[in-house]
Amino acid sequence: MAPIGKLYGHPPSLRRKPYILSAAAISGLEIDLLPFEFGVTNKSPEFPLAYIPTFEDNEGFRLIKGTTTARYVSALVPKAGLLGHDVKETARIDQWVHFAGSEIFVPAANIYAGMVTKDLPTFTEEQRKYYQERVERSLKFLDDHLASRSSGLLVNDSLTLADIILATAVQRAGQTVCGAKEREGAYRYVFAHFEKVTNDERIKHLFGEPEFVDEALSFKAE
């Protein structure tokens, strides 16, 4: 089957967040991954908006923003169920996608940038605490929700885009604020969800090693 288009931005961006390719895999669609050199390819004239990843289909239709592209790919094959089966389900999926991004991924990613990749040179304990509390508040709410779901998935009984995007966000949480104790205890439903999604045969290979921390990250004597 022919690829539906190509993706600029492989590997760094796509390796970090596999949701576009996961949506494609579940939908049975193929996307070409183009070689990409940061600072070179995205500064060339065909990249007016200079964002990665950029998706381009075979007719020249272009999209930026990872979650937007993943949603678009999901919309191409409604039967695959990634966006639910009716307007209500779709709305719920949109809600969880947004929640996963702003309430979990972003604060966890800030801690990751401050303490792991050191992209934030003056990251402090005060900051870490602030973001950690935000993530924890959201995880608790999420854990309660997932505990009530017989399928163990967010919206209905089969994998949706919300589950995929949440898994990526939760992965970041597991690399920063959730140590083994939290993953098996306070947030066990959240991490059971993560296991379930990332072990799905169709997308297992896209997630790779989770790289979870044993203990929540903290500032020891630096």
């Binding site: 931005g9 760094p12 961006s13 796509l14 970090r16 967040k17 940061f38 908006l49 964002y51 990665i52 990843p53 239709f61 999209l63 930026i64 923003k65 990872g66 979650t67 937007t68 592209t69 949603r71 678009y72 919309a75 191409l76 307007v87 209500k88 779709t90 709305a91 719920r92 949109d94 809600q95 996608v97 947004h98 929640f99 991004g101 702003s102 309430e103 991924f105 972003v106 604060p107 990613a109 800030n110 990751y112 940038a113 401050g114 992209d119 934030l120 040179p121 003056t122 990251f123 402090t124 304990e125 005060e126 900051q127 605490k129 602030y130 973001y131 509390e133 709410f141 309660d144 929700h145």
Partner: protein
């Protein structure tokens, strides 16, 4: 026609404006019950429907309970396919999603975090404020480019994309998008004007407030260590629910937040020096640089080369420089980001040459013998090369003096404009 549901929200949140405008454009009615944030969202019946306790929250007449402003707006748009608010095809819908997302992550998130810093919800940090402002500038600039060739963002009619962008800009013009900036982005303003004046939307948006100068930081009167607010003081203000960007795949991801290190600065632990940087800054400001009685003379009489050092600074990517005033602004930006090192640093840097054929160079006088601890507070410090100068060496000395006197010349390029960090 019956309302489609109830919306719990606070006025002033741009998500609320977008939701209400979407409903108005779709010809759908929303009920807005009395709601007091920080009170009603703690009550059991609210939490039963919306356990996370955040707003905006939508209670559908059909039993659907939804949170996350963007999801609510999109749902309402989807309820009325004839309104065309999501475009006509899947591709158009994807473009609408893209712009909605762009508005949130590239523009609104900066508004929100700047707001939180300026109002004490998050510790204020000038370097971060500057970085956010610049990030937002990039967002505005991209938006301006997009709108150069379009009346509406997607297709030829109003969509959720236009409504969302207008809602974000409505907030921006009262806060960060000030008069000088607005002059640079006529197409953003043209689009904004078009959307907020659409007959169905006029009442929802109301009159915008245009700020003259971007809101600045006023330090609190009594210096108390700012605690991060778990429960921010009651304010009519936008409660953060989708703050930061950084959920994005842009490589410059995840670059905001922090705060001055609370830890003792190693530069304070150096042995006392006889050279007083503040006295130097005064001398430099009040005296002529060269000549008898000038600040250079004062410098050589007072400098302590054990306690302080002098460095030459060169921008690494001079081939990227274009207009002189823009390069000058770049120096200004760099100096802004060095704010945290004010006690340890003096700088004099300039643009030499001509448009599209220029270089940025200058000198720093800094505490200690190592430049790194002083300049690494600026996220972009690695864009410059640093070389320690030996003032006994005549070439180094001439360079130093030229940079201070603003008459430096390098390879035939003359000093055009300069900035001081003092």
């Amino acid at each position: 026609m019956a309302p489609i549901g109830k919306l719990y929200s606070a006025r002033g949140m741009c998500q609320t404006t977008a939701i209400k405008a979407t409903a108005a454009a779709a010809g759908l009615e929303l009920e807005e019950p009395e709601y007091k944030h920080y009170e009603d969202n703690k009550k059991p019946d609210f939490l039963a429907k919306f356990p996370h306790g955040k707003i905006p929250a939508f209670e559908g007449a059909n039993g659907l309970n939804l949170t996350e402003g963007a999801a609510i707006a999109r749902y309402i748009a989807a309820l009325s396919p004839n309104s065309g608010l999501l475009g006509g095809t899947i591709e158009d819908a994807a473009l609408v999603d893209q712009y909605v997302h762009f508005a949130e992550t590239e523009i609104h998130s900066s508004n929100e975090l700047i707001y939180m810093m300026l109002n004490g919800y998050v510790p204020y940090n000038k370097a971060i404020h500057t970085v956010l402002t610049e990030r937002q500038l990039r967002g505005y600039s991209t938006l301006e480019t997009i709108l150069l060739t379009r009346t509406y963002l997607v297709g030829e009619r109003l969509t959720l994309a236009d409504i969302t962008i207008a809602s974000v800009i409505f907030l921006s013009v009262s806060y960060t998008l000030d008069a000088p900036l607005r002059a640079r982005y006529p197409n953003i303003l043209r689009h904004f004007d078009l959307i907020i004046n659409q007959p169905k939307l006029k009442e929802v948006f109301g009159q915008p407030t245009f700020v003259e100068k971007a809101v600045q930081y006023t330090p609190p009167a009594k210096e108390k260590k700012e605690k991060e607010p778990k429960q921010p003081a009651p304010a009519p203000a936008p409660k953060k629910e989708k703050p930061k960007k950084a959920e994005e795949d842009d490589e410059e991801d995840e670059n905001l937040v922090p705060e001055e290190p609370k830890a003792k600065n190693p530069l304070d632990l150096l042995p006392k020096s006889t050279f007083n940087l503040e006295d130097w800054k005064r001398a430099y400001s009040n005296k002529d640089t060269r000549g008898p009685g000038g600040s250079l003379e004062w410098f050589y009489e007072n400098f302590d080369k054990e306690g302080f050092s002098v460095y030459r600074v060169d921008f690494k990517y001079n081939e990227e420089l274009t207009l002189v005033f823009m390069s000058s602004n770049q120096i200004g930006g760099f100096f802004n980001r060095l704010e945290a090192s004010r006690k340890y640093l003096f700088g004099s840097m300039g643009v030499l040459g001509a448009a599209n054929d220029s270089i940025i160079a200058g000198v720093l006088i800094l505490r200690g013998q190592d430049v790194k601890p002083v300049v690494e507070v600026a996220p972009d410090y690695e864009s410059y090369d640093y070389r320690k100068l030996d003032l006994e060496n005549s070439e180094d000395k001439a360079f130093f003096e030229g940079a201070l006197a603003w008459d430096l010349e390098i390879d035939g390029k003359k000093w055009q404009d300069g900035k001081n960090f003092k």
